[in-house]
Structure formats: structure tokens, C-alpha cells
Amino acid sequence: MSADILSFIIFLPAVVAFGLMITTKHVETVRNIAFLTTTVILALVLKLYIEFEPSAGMQFVTNVPWIASYGINYYIGVDGFSLTILMMIAILIPTAYLLLWEGRTKGYWINMLLVQAGVTGSLLALDVILFYFFWEVMLLPVFLMIGIYGFGDKVFTTIKVTVYTMLGSLLMFVAMLYLGVTYHAEFGSWSFQYDSLTQITSLSYNEKIWLFLAFLSAFAIKIPIFPLHTWIMETYKNAPTGAVFLLSSIMAKLGVYAIVRFLIPIFPEIYVEFSSWFVFIGLFGLVYFGVAALMQDDIKRMFAYSSASHLSFIAAGIFSLNAFGINGALYLIIAHAIATGALFLLVGIIHDETGYKTIKDLGGLAKQSPIFTTIFAIMLFANVGLPGTNGFVSELLIIFGIYEFNHTLGYISALTVIIGASYMLWMFQRAILQDREGEALKFRDLKIKEIVGLAPWVILVFLMGIYPDIFIDKFEPTVTHYLNDILHIGAAK
């Protein structure tokens, strides 16, 4: 049973989704069953989290042939790294349901379930073709969500986001096939498992660089890393709240995850060699998106830039080649998912209730909705990295990591964090606190359901901020294994 638990976690939402699609037309039934499914998954993931032993290896592995003549296997497993992200997804999604509770249609909930299946699948897949399979499958429901439930020029947005992500995916696909063929030429049999692909020795230096870039293009678009970010502006602005939440909180993280899972083991030398470039690009993105966020009037766009800014910071941490940076990046993945996810959902509530999206239209929300404002503020502080929150721990670790990588860049990264604080607090002051002249804005406070949904996130923000060890212990051995055994540069002391 325990070996199949992962498959169960992956396919349960998809099976439920298809079942609901053909059986019932009743929106509330669909929503309730979908929500129930996500809580069942959360329970399973909790069980997994407890049973998981902190060590470097893969656990709960299932490996059965899928397309045997090409050595493509249904090969899934979990290590400390993916477990952490799996846990995050399992907690975030059900609470997102609670916040999106009212006024959605059947298709909305079914798409949410399908995305969860796709995301979990690509998180756990250890065969590159299987990974590609889920990677594409998770895009399709989001495509439908933006197109059907989006705002503004939604069709253009849909096509733009599809074209961008598909371009990256297909480049990655070529690279996967090339690796598979190389493996076949070298070993005489087919295999697309990532641990087989790491054994390839016959690639030339130039080939490796091209393949590395092809893979990276797919991941960088998803994250997005500067300059491949132009799709996120329209998308975050025009997409429905649920899709924005999924894209920013969860899918973007999978881009980072994939870099660690596939790029580091398969191309360790290239990774080390080019890391300074990517740290630099990451820091540049941090500043660039931060400054862009300062200038936004549309609140969703501002969060889009802010999110991109933090993701660049994560990318910089991932490429910093030491345990501080990578642990910090992992930690920021979780912290950012919680903070940004909550903020997007809260802004979604503002938009649903008042119809306003721009900062200058808002104001004075604090008076009418104290609970809303409190939670909003907590998430905001986590996002800017106030001490005591999980954002602080992760940013500190990344800055340490970058400092160890290069002192000058370390100082720069420490200073740039101020940008994030300034646009966030400025926005908070204008949109939430400051009284608006003229007619009073009608806005309700959070309902009990929504507070219950957000409560675990608030707890996590502080728990992770005050006592990080209980979380870091789960994935630290994996990171150490990566640094010692794959990159051969030694974990930080």
C-alpha cells in the first residue's frame, strides 16, 4: 500500500474530476466533493510526511514499465526536496478552495482538480518523459480556466501564455529525446529515467550547453526568470483568481524544483560553470521586477511583479552552489507560496466584492474589515521578510548563500531586499489603510470559512519563522547529498 500511496495522491483528483464531469451538474455538489478530495489528499500527504525518514534517497518508489519498447517507465518517488513541496501543495490547495468558495461554476472546480493531478504528477515523476507528460497536462486546465473565466482580453492572454510555455516545453522535449538517444547509443538500451541519464558520458561540452539551455528555457519561462517573463503581466492581470494562485504559488515553484531535480544531476559541470551568470540574472530580476512593481497602479499587476521579483531571488539562491543558498531557496519556495498565494486570493476577494483592481480606487479597507487587514498585513510582512516570519529566515539564508558565493553580490542582495519592503508597504498604506475621499467603499470582512482556510497559513508563517529546524531537517540531507555527491563541492560548514 505504502508504495502506491503516491500514485493514489496523483490520480485521485483526476479520477474524481472525470467522475464529476460526467455525473452531476450541481455546482455545490461538485465543489464539496472536490474539496473533500483535496482534504483526503492532505491527510495522505501528512501520513507520508510523518512516515518519511530524513535521508537523501528516494522513498515510496514505484517503477513499472509504461512504454517498454522505449524504456519509458512509470517511475515516481519522493525525496526530502519534493516532499516539502508536496506538503506545501497539499496544504495550499484546500485552503484556496475555502477562499474561492462562492460563485464558481462546475468547470472551475473540475479544472482545479485536474491542475492538482498534473502538478503532483510532475513533482513526483522521475522519468523525464513522464515528467513531460504531467508538465504539459497541468497546463491545459489552466489554459481553459484563463480562457473561460478570465477578464479583459482573455483569449489573447490565453494564447500568449500557451505559446510561451509550449515553446519552452518543446525545446525541453527535444533535449529529452536527444538525451534518450545518446543514452541508447552509449548503453545499447533505451531509458529516460533521470538517474540513468546522469550516467551519460559521451556528450560533448557544446552539446551539454545546448541541452542545458533547452531544459532551462522551459523551467525559466515557468518561473519566470528575466527576460522570459513577459507573459506574466497580462496573465496575472486577466486570469481568474484561482488560476493566478495556481500559476504563481505552485507552478512557478515547479520550475525551480525541476532545475534542482533534473538540471543539477544531469549537467553538474555546466551548472557550476554558469552559476555566477544565473546568480547575477536572478539578482538583476530581483531589482528589475522590484522597481517595476513600485510603479504599478493595478494591484494584481503589482503582485505579479512582486512575485516575479521573489522568484528571481529564489533562482539566485538555487544557483549559489552552497547549502545556505539552496536551503534558503527551498524555504523561500514555501514561504513565497504561502504569502503570495494568500495575497492573490485576498486581492481576488477585493476584486470580486468591489470590482476594483487599482490601488487608487481602494483605501479605507482597514476600518471596515479588521480581520482581513490583519491577515493581509501578516502575509505582507512575511512577503517582505520581517523577522519572526518565514520570509525572514529564507531571505537571510539566501543572502548568506550569495555572500558565500561572492561577497559583493551578497551585499547587493542584502540591499535590494529594501525595494520589496518599500513597494509592499507603500501599497498597503495606500490601498488598505488610507481613507478614501468621497463615497465609502463597501467591503465585507472575511467569513469564518475563509478565516479557517487562512489560519494554517498564518500559523505556518510564524512556525516556520520562529522554529525553522523542524522543516529544514526533512530536506537538508537531500541538499547535502546534492552538494557532496553530485556537484562535488561540499556542503557548507
Binding site: F11, V64, P65, W66, I67, A68, S69, Y70, N73, Y74, I129, Y132, F133, F134, E136, V137, L140, F143, L144, G147, I148, K154, V155, T158, I159, T162, V163, M166, L167, L170, L171, F173, V174, L177, Y178, G180, V181, H184, A185
Partner: protein, 502 residues
């Protein structure tokens, strides 16, 4: 007796064609539904007969004293016969609604369809150049007639003439090629040509090379590769929708069956000679087909144009044949994947057209998902498959073709093909966007649908196969379903039987 089993399906189809023709003489006694039933039953019997030897590896020349070695019956031809019968049967079932809604589909149409199938099956069995030509012409002439069947459409005259004249013209190339081959080798039998090639050095074979290249032109014309694709848009446009589907999928399979046999079994050295020609042809086929598909406004023409792109993928696998035999499996697998998705997508459109007259352009498909969610969902599946999105059989097909192309060293071509795939996402997804993201147009509204029809069930069957074929068995490991590996094995047995020396 054993020999009889193998020639039964082909003979049965010939007899059915003649039988239905006699039936159609009593026009007033039968209606369209009865013709469809009779033809389908006959096709199902033929299908069952051909399924008997499936999985065995054999190569026979039954009744050699009668056929004089011009026909060969092996696992390869058997496998293709199954595909061809299945393609025709599905065409018939998907078209049920369409055939019944149009006045002009009389009894003889079904006879012609069966004759076309007979020609194609013969082509799959042909082991001699002139026999192949006759088989090809039987099939082609039947298709010419079917193209012109749409008497309500003024475009049909242009379509039939364009196809007939160009087709006959290119047929002359084939004959000239045969003459040159005969001049060089004094035989038209493929086996003997193969013996000639292996016994002679390159210098003696100039005439043979020219002759076979002329024959290659016919092949390229029939599958609509660049520069012989000019007829496609107009002919596909003028032909009845369901015939377009038939031409794009089933007829293409028949053409490939013969040329794959010829190239693999007998004239393998030619593929190296053609290498550079094919290289250029593939590039242009992909580029030109993609360009055509993007610029189309009418959905049917877009599908027609995109079939040129799919020809490009097929040729990509075909060119890789020179390097390794796996490319042949890839070609056959891709043909199957394309058969399913193309029949499905064309079939849905013809099903819709038969009820409403307006669904022609992209715009007319706006809001289809709200009106008819199941049809829209099935159409989406087929479009995903055509675009090669994972979880459909089209993805596995593309995976197969691209892997073998890279394996054979055609990396640039593979990258180009993937770029073409990428662009194809645009024109396929545009249709999905139309169906899902817009409100329904008023003039396209139609409330009295009857979707409980044979056509809908046939399309649904195709949609399920498309998905199951893409997911395979491992994902649903608790349900022993159709396994991709089994399908791949079948294609391998089929191809391997070409090399049985008998």
C-alpha cells in the same frame, strides 16, 4: 485452404463492392440506411477475417500459378488491410448522419467506397510495379468520383477536375518510371528488382535510379508533399467532408503501405540516393504546410493544410528508414495515430455540418462547448492529438517519430519539425479557444440536435481510443487496457515479415 484464408478479405471486399453495385440498381427498394448497414456488416466480416492471422509472422504467395507472383500476402499487408478496413468502416459509421442528410448519396456511392477500399487493399498486397499501378488507379478513380459527389457545392467541379487531371498527369510519371525500370532490369517484379540491385554496382543503375525517382514523385503527389501539394486545399475543400477525412487518413495509409514495402523490402539502397532530395522536400513540406495552415480561416481548409504538415512528420520518419529499421515502426505508428485523430476531427465537423450549414469558419465554432459539450470535448481530444499534446496517441506518435529522426542523425530536421509542432499548437488551439471562450453566435444556434446517433458513437469510440492509446497501460495498471507496447509489437511483426525470404 490455408491459402484461401489470406485472400478471403480482399476477395470479399471485391464481391461486396459488386454486390452493392447490383443492389443500387434497385434504387427505390433500399434507403441509405440499408446501404450503410449492408456495407458495414460486410466490412466487419472482412475485418474479422483479417484479424485471424494477426500476430503471426508470415509471408505467402498463395495460388502462385494464378497470380504469378504479383501479389504477396504477409503480416505486413495483413496489418495494413486491417487498418484500411477499419478506416473505411469508421468513415462509413462517422458519416452515417452526413450520408443520410444529403440527398445525393445514393446506393452506388457505397459501392464506389468499397471499390476504393478494394484498390487500396490490393495496393498493400502488390509485389509488382504494374499491379501496384492498377491497384492505385482503382483506388484513385473511386476517390475522384467521390470527390465530385457533393452536387450542392459549386466548388466540386474545380475539385474533381484539379484532382483528376493532376492525378492522371502524375500517373504518367509513374508509368514512365516503370518503363525506365523495366528498361534497366527487364522486370517489374519488386523481388527481381531487388536481386538486380544487389547484383550490380552503382554505375549500372542510373536508369533504375531515374525510374524509381519518377515513381517516388507519384508517391509524394498522393501524400501531398511539397512541391506536389497544390491540389490539396481546393480538392479537400470541394470534396464532401467525410471524403476529405477518408483521403487524408485512409488513402494516405494505403499509399504508404506500398512504398514502405518497396523501400524496405526491395530497394533499400535507393533511400540513400534520395536522402538529399527528401531532406529539402521535408523542410519545404513542413514550412509550407505550416504557413498554409496558419493563414486559413475555414476550419476544413485548416485541417486540410495541417495534413500537409503531418505528411512532413511522416516523411521525417520515412527518411530515417535509411539509418535504422525502427523508423519504419515509427512511420506505421504515426499513420495509425493520424488515422484516429484525423478521422475523428474531420468526422465531427462533418457530423455538425450535416445539421447546420453555417459551421464553416473559425468564427462559426464560437460557443460550441456550451451548446454541445460532449462534441466539443471530443473535438478537443482530437485537436490535442493532432497537436501532439501528452495523454493522446498523437503525442506517442510524435515521440516515436522525433526519437527515431534524432537517432538517425537528422537533428536539424527534428528541431524544425518540433518548431512546426509548436506553431501547430496555435492553429489547433485557436479552434479550442473558439469553442470554449466565446458565447454562441445566434445564427449558429440550433436546438433540435439529435446526438444519439451512430456517428456520435463512432466518434466517441475514436476519442476513447485516442486517449487510451496515449496513456497506455502503465498509468492505468490496474486495468488491462490496450497497451501501446502491443501496438508497437504489432507494427514490428508487420515490418519484420517483409524480410522473410520465401
Amino acid at each position: 485452404m490455408n491459402e484461401l484464408i489470406h485472400i478471403l478479405p480482399v476477395s470479399l471486399i471485391l464481391l461486396s463492392a459488386v454486390g452493392v453495385m447490383f443492389m443500387s440498381m434497385y434504387e427505390e427498394k433500399f434507403n441509405t440506411k440499408q446501404y450503410i448497414t449492408v456495407s458495414s456488416v460486410l466490412l466487419i466480416i472482412a475485418l474479422i477475417l483479417s484479424l485471424i492471422p494477426l500476430g503471426d509472422s508470415f509471408a505467402l504467395r498463395p495460388y502462385n500459378n494464378i497470380f504469378n507472383d504479383v501479389l504477396i500476402f504477409d503480416s505486413f499487408s495483413n496489418f495494413f488491410n486491417i487498418l484500411l478496413i477499419l478506416g473505411t468502416l469508421l468513415t462509413l459509421l462517422i458519416g452515417e448522419n452526413y450520408f443520410r442528410s444529403k440527398e445525393y448519396f445514393k446506393g452506388e456511392f457505397f459501392s464506389i467506397l468499397l471499390f476504393a477500399l478494394f484498390g487500396m487493399m490490393l495496393l498493400a498486397n502488390a509485389n509488382e510495379l504494374v499491379t501496384a499501378f492498377i491497384a492505385l488507379e482503382i483506388a484513385s478513380f473511386a476517390v475522384y468520383v467521390m470527390v465530385g459527389y457533393n452536387s450542392e457545392d459549386s466548388k466540386r467541379v474545380e475539385a474533381i477536375f484539379k484532382y483528376l487531371v493532376l492525378g492522371s498527369f502524375i500517373g504518367a510519371f509513374y508509368l514512365l518510371g516503370v518503363v525506365l525500370v523495366y528498361g534497366a532490369t527487364a522486370t517489374t517484379n519488386l523481388t527481381e528488382i531487388a536481386a538486380y540491385i544487389s547484383a550490380h554496382s552503382n554505375e549500372d543503375m542510373a536508369l533504375l535510379y531515374i525510374g524509381l525517382t519518377l515513381i517516388l514523385f507519384t508517391f509524394l503527389f498522393k501524400i501531398a508533399a511539397f512541391p506536389f501539394q497544390s491540389w490539396v486545399l481546393d480538392v479537400y475543400r470541394g470534396a464532401p467532408m467525410i471524403i476529405t477525412a477518408y483521403m487524408a487518413s485512409t488513402f494516405k495509409i494505403a499509399i504508404f503501405s506500398f512504398f514502405l514495402r518497396a523501400v524496405l523490402q526491395d530497394i533499400a539502397p535507393m533511400i540513400d540516393f534520395w536522402d538529399s532530395i527528401m531532406y529539402v522536400i521535408i523542410i519545404f513540406t513542413l514550412v509550407f504546410g505550416t504557413w498554409l495552415a496558419i493563414t486559413q480561416n475555414i476550419v476544413k481548409r485548416m485541417l486540410a493544410a495541417s495534413s500537409i504538415v503531418h505528411t512532413g512528420y511522416l516523411l521525417l520518419a520515412f527518411i530515417a528508414l535509411g539509418q535504422n529499421i525502427h523508423a519504419a515502426y515509427a512511420t506505421v505508428f504515426y499513420l495509425i495515430a493520424y488515422l484516429l485523430s484525423a478521422l475523428g476531427s474531420f468526422g465531427i465537423i462533418s457530423h455538425i455540418i450535416s445539421e447546420t450549414k453555417v459551421r464553416v469558419t473559425y468564427d462559426d465554432f464560437k460557443g460550441l462547448a456550451k451548446e454541445r459539450p460532449y462534441l466539443a470535448a471530443m473535438m478537443t481530444i482530437f485537436l490535442f492529438s493532432l497537436a501532439g499534446i501528452p495523454s493522446t496517441i498523437g503525442f506517442i506518435g510524435k515521440f516515436y517519430v522525433f526519437t527515431e529522426a534524432i537517432n538517425a542523425g537528422y537533428i536539424l530536421l527534428a528541431v524544425l519539425a518540433i518548431v512546426a509542432t509548436f506553431i501547430s499548437v496555435y492553429y489547433y488551439f485557436k479552434l479550442i479557444a473558439m469553442m470554449y471562450f466565446y458565447p454562441t453566435k445566434e445564427e449558429c444556434m440550433d436546438n433540435d440536435f439529435n446526438d444519439k446517433r451512430v456517428s456520435t458513437y463512432a466518434i466517441a469510440f475514436l476519442a476513447i481510443i485516442t486517449i487510451v492509446g496515449g496513456i497506455g497501460s502503465a498509468i492505468v495498471f490496474f486495468i488491462p487496457a490496450l497497451n501501446i507496447d502491443t501496438l508497437i509489437e504489432m507494427t514490428q511483426i508487420a515490418i519484420q515479415s517483409l524480410f522473410i525470404k520465401s
